[in-house]
């Protein structure tokens, strides 16, 4: 450590290297926000000592190998404090990797990147973005999500440890840290995630709660004066208080106490002063806007800092990197040596782990996917979903997940597998509780740690978990959302349980594939597409009610699912196209047969995935929906929003114009016009133009 030599005079009278590094973080954050003329300086300034203590003294992280599987995870749930993270990545000397994991030879975050904070194309966007900046473990900003992700990461570690650690071979023993603020503590998703983490006794999980008594509208006493510590004791957490965020010794003791706690998660409540050291210290004005040139000058003066912008005193970066790498690199090297031996002793498990870490699948992963015989009575697509999922999970054991207390209905249990519980971290069936929102954030976290995770609930309760579903799409995570009870076919539970607008919501969301299969074989093809892809999330939309298994000798193969839409049944020179998804496909087939008997040539298009269909070339799309056939009818037991795209100006829709009702499903279908007779009638109207 040579950096004391460059310590400016003033408040740095102790010349401590930590204070120098800490104030570097603070001033970089202030300067970057000022340069960008937007951003959040106050929290990085307050929490710089926390970041410094955690990264230089505890985090097991190798800056040269930021994708080392057993690294400790650092989640910045307070995503608006992104400059804290960028400063830490810069000072730690984290190396950039490309999307395939190859080093690019560049730093993850250079000083130039920090100077380009919040500019188009820079490595330093306003909120940290996964995949965009190496070292960012998850995209944060929407509050509470990082908390939920961290629980998922801690779960993944426990599962990986349970499955792959063997006596003498500790491949997984990392910890997960999440830095949270008052906003996180107020968000319900974090409450749900904390309750689940307490239940699961995740002792590898540490949340650091920055209690600064400031929110955007003013003091937290305007809206939030609960006893957070007492609440977390109720959840079964270990709760530690640090009275002053600048007290590095107390922070160190707190992290030590976390590391020694082996039976529950830890919450460290750190009392801090937002914008510490600035004229705006302790005020909401330090939260979300630049401090201003004058305030920055005063702050630097108070710190005993030279009046330079983006100033990193000599030696500070090297000392910081050395502190991190000096601990992390030998651990990573040891880990790789252990893995090499493990490959000899446990070749099967090692091969499996290799696939997980490479994001690959076993060669014969889809060998057991069933083919379903034609069957007029058929089965619910949720039931088919359960069968296919089980057939794949048998060969892809890291395809794991569960439900928000609806597994008996969503059929997502892996049969014969244990539940993932505090006394069995090897279980594959997850009981998320009635916590859809946390489930979403946790599944994202599990996926970020390499698992092929899924979560399930009723489709209408997608509403409870929209934020993590959106983030799964934004982060391009290969997780699967299984949504059953997908229409008014829900029946008696009524309009609160009948999704109407949800298909449109999902289709409107960029980057997520929404597949609504028509029968058991389409379900099989949907799951095949989902698992073989893995580069984006999928929402699999399944029925409560039984659907006929179509006779594929009479109609086209279900393999068309992969293309999003395909001609299922056709007539020579068709005059009208009937388009449907999911449970309505067999309905339009009925109409097709009726029209045929009346001498009307129709075509039936099954369209399980708009996402996939839009990605086909123009020729294929034209072959399925020829422009010259303008008589078209789309049939879907949901709102019609969006269908204009495929039916065009002369087309018709048989869809829902309002909410459903409580009644037996058959009665509802009749009442709302989902009958063969009505669809055939509407087709004839469409033919008349």
């Amino acid at each position: 450590m040579t950096d004391t030599a460059t310590a400016p005079a003033g408040v740095h009278e102790d010349g401590s290297p930590e204070r120098l590094a800490i104030d570097t973080i603070r001033t970089l954050s202030m300067d970057a926000v000022q340069r960008a003329n937007s951003g959040h300086p106050g929290t990085p300034m307050a929490l710089a000592p926390v970041g410094w203590t955690l990264w230089t003294k505890f985090l097991r992280y190798d800056p040269d190998t930021p994708d080392w599987p057993n690294r400790d995870r650092f989640v910045l749930s307070v995503g608006h404090a992104s400059m804290l993270l960028y400063s830490l990545l810069h000072l730690a000397g984290v190396k950039e990797l490309d999307r395939t994991g190859k080093p690019t030879g560049r730093p993850a975050v250079s000083l130039e990147d920090i100077e380009a904070f919040r500019q188009l194309g820079s490595k330093t966007p306003g909120h940290p973005e996964y995949r965009h900046t190496t070292g960012v473990e998850t995209t944060t900003g929407p509050l509470g999500q990082g908390c939920g992700n961290s629980v998922g990461m801690a779960i993944a570690e426990r599962w990986l440890a349970a499955r792959y650690n063997k006596p003498g071979f500790t491949l997984f023993d990392h910890d997960v840290y999440s830095l949270c603020g008052d906003g996180d503590m107020m968000e319900g998703v974090a409450s749900e995630a904390a309750s689940l983490a307490g239940h699961l006794k995740l002792s590898n999980l540490c949340w650091i709660y920055d209690s600064n008594h400031i929110s955007i509208e003013g003091g937290t006493d305007l809206a939030f004066d609960e006893d957070v510590g007492k609440r977390f004791l109720g959840y079964g957490w270990n709760v530690i208080h640090v009275d002053d965020a600048n007290d590095v010794a107390a922070l160190t003791a707190a992290f030590d106490a976390f590391r020694k706690t082996d039976d529950r998660p830890t919450l460290i409540i750190v009392h801090s002063v937002i914008g510490w050291g600035s004229p705006r210290a302790g005020s909401e004005k330090a939260h979300g806007e630049p401090l201003g040139v004058e305030n920055i000058a005063k702050t630097k003066e108070a710190y005993g800092w030279p009046a330079k912008d983006f100033y990193v005193p000599e030696g500070v970066q090297a000392a910081f990197e050395q502190a991190v790498a000096g601990r992390g690199r030998p651990l990573r090297e040891e880990w790789q040596a252990t893995l090499a031996k493990y490959e000899e002793v446990e070749p099967a498990l090692a091969a499996e782990l290799d696939l997980i870490l490479a994001g690959k699948l076993p060669e014969d992963w889809d060998a057991d996917i069933p083919v379903f015989e034609a069957d007029e009575k058929g089965l619910a697509s949720r039931d088919a979903g359960g069968k296919v999922l089980n057939a794949i999970a048998k060969r892809v054991p890291w395809l794991i997940g569960g439900s928000a207390d609806l597994a008996p209905s969503t059929k997502t249990d892996i049969k014969g597998a244990a539940s993932f519980e505090a006394n069995n971290y090897g279980g594959a069936n997850f009981h998320f509780g009635v916590r859809e929102h946390a489930m979403g954030a946790v599944v994202n976290g599990m996926t970020l740690s390499g698992l092929r995770a899924y979560g399930s609930t009723f489709f209408v309760f997608l509403d409870y978990m929209r934020p993590p579903v959106r983030l799964s799409a934004l982060m391009e995570l290969g997780c699967t959302w299984v949504y059953t009870h997908d229409s008014i076919g829900v029946g008696e539970d009524g309009p609160t349980h009948q999704p109407i607008e949800h298909l449109a919501m999902m289709r409107a969301t960029p980057g997520i594939d929404t597949i609504r299969p028509a029968d058991a074989n389409e379900v099989a093809e949907a799951w095949r597409a989902i698992v073989s892809d893995g580069q984006h999330p999928t929402a699999l939309i399944l029925s409560r009610q039984a659907l006929p298994t179509l006779d594929r000798s009479k109609y086209a193969s279900a393999a068309g699912v992969a293309k999003g839409a395909y001609v299922l049944a056709d007539s020579p020179d068709p005059q009208v196209i009937l388009i449907a998804t999911g449970s309505e496909v067999s309905l339009v087939l009925g109409a097709y047969e009726q029209l045929k008997s009346e001498g009307i040539a129709a075509r039936v298009v099954s369209m399980p995935s708009w996402f996939r269909f839009e990605r086909q070339d123009a020729a294929y799309r034209e072959s399925v929906l020829p422009a010259k056939i303008t008589a078209r009818v789309a049939v879907e037991m949901a709102g019609g929003f969006g269908w204009d795209r495929y039916v065009g100006a002369k087309g018709r829709t048989v869809t829902m114009s309002g909410y459903g009702a409580s009644a037996p499903a058959g009665k509802l279908m009749e009442a709302f016009g989902f009958t063969v007779g009505n669809v055939a009638q509407v087709a004839k109207e469409a033919l008349q133009g």
Copy 2:
């Protein structure tokens, strides 16, 4: 009480009238679920004693006047236990009112209605539906929502009391009870609402938590074993335990204790046995399916109940009704006498209250709505929104609300008004905290109690509050959701903060008006439409960035907002139509001017509300968007999903195909093609077909 005479032998050896009434509720619930062959028998069976105790001994409710403004509210947050509520409404003899509040002469729930449980058009849908069944205070089913609604109702009571009670005139002093289950306790929205209620010290609020240790997947120990009582102490609640749901004396003592607590809300934790008395007692199998004929027979035997279906022993209904009405009717009569005197002493306040209760507005409510001068620089529509809101709220003091900790950004504060806090329940500015989901449920509850409530946050965080937004539409509540920062115009905060799919999500949701005004005068007309309507919720979508205030002497009047879309600028014999909403309207006006200078005749349509436009007659719609003009361009800084409806097969869109990015807004607009030049270019392409 003559009903002891009809008590069957057996377990009714004590012949207590309460046990007779309680078992009537239980058996009605079992029988209705069995007849419907679907539903949830176990919770009504377990909680019948709670319902009986609360309704016959505490609830201040007049069955003849179920809309008495000062009635205690009973919220069934466990909406799946609807048969408990229907049984209570039946036994209490609640009279049906039509939508205008006139008695229909029929009971709210007759025995025949109970026999028609879950049938098409019956009064007894699977989950309780507000407006559908008299006496149902709010639509429940999606868990946690009723909890949040109850906080809103308690807030409304405190606000009404603070404003209208005067010495000697206690017009408002009602309590709000919510019956909650394990699912509610797990949902984050209930956690948020509980934290807020504790902060606000709502001593008129009582949650009864049915702790039955059972969830759908099995015992709650699978996912939920936190100490709920300790958690609520952390929130600042009073916590009371009742060890046995059948212990009417303990329940009575608990409700007494709640009534005496005047400084905080009360949680009564009631330990119950789901499906009490049946062979499935204590099992998840008692939750969500009929018990079966055989089990029902055994249960009735265990109760000492005759083997009759839908059996209400003589006198039980009359005794129950007498217990409720005997307390409620005199209170309601006294209240009306007080109100009559109040009208003399406080005529101004009385007149105001009269408007609130009638759902009406003061005659000159819109007199201060500003007209904004043309101004090229203009102002952000969020700023215009704040000005207009303030102009209306001055004359409609019950137009109140707030923000989820973003008021300085959403501009929804009522200037000069106090904050609604525990020490000032007369405040008009609400600090909901970073709790968007609870804000939604609370605003719904406030609206259910007669206020014109609003809640605000950034548009992208609509995701956090989808469930209550949907319920506001389903319940046809006249509340307002103010969403600002409505596009990539957010700028540097990046894709986590830039809504893309949210306009489509809202437009796809039935029954809610989504208005995205183009300038300050459209904002004024939007608020005028919102406040004068009040029969459905509105989402008002506002910009972060400044928008020019259009010169209305040059372009059409903003009054067209009421029709959803209107021709803003036109040319003789237009060849191409440019359609836009919000911030993009001034952009397409620029393109229109450029095209004009190049001799191309264009029309500009401002389309702030699809909801309103779709409700215009065909002639008007054709006058705005003539079918013969097929060259059309829609411009919106959001995903293009849904625009096919208006641009047609030959039209184009200038919209977002993916997520945004972090950069100054101007740079983003350029990067994503939102420039006058690009829009003009695309218009020319559209003209070429």
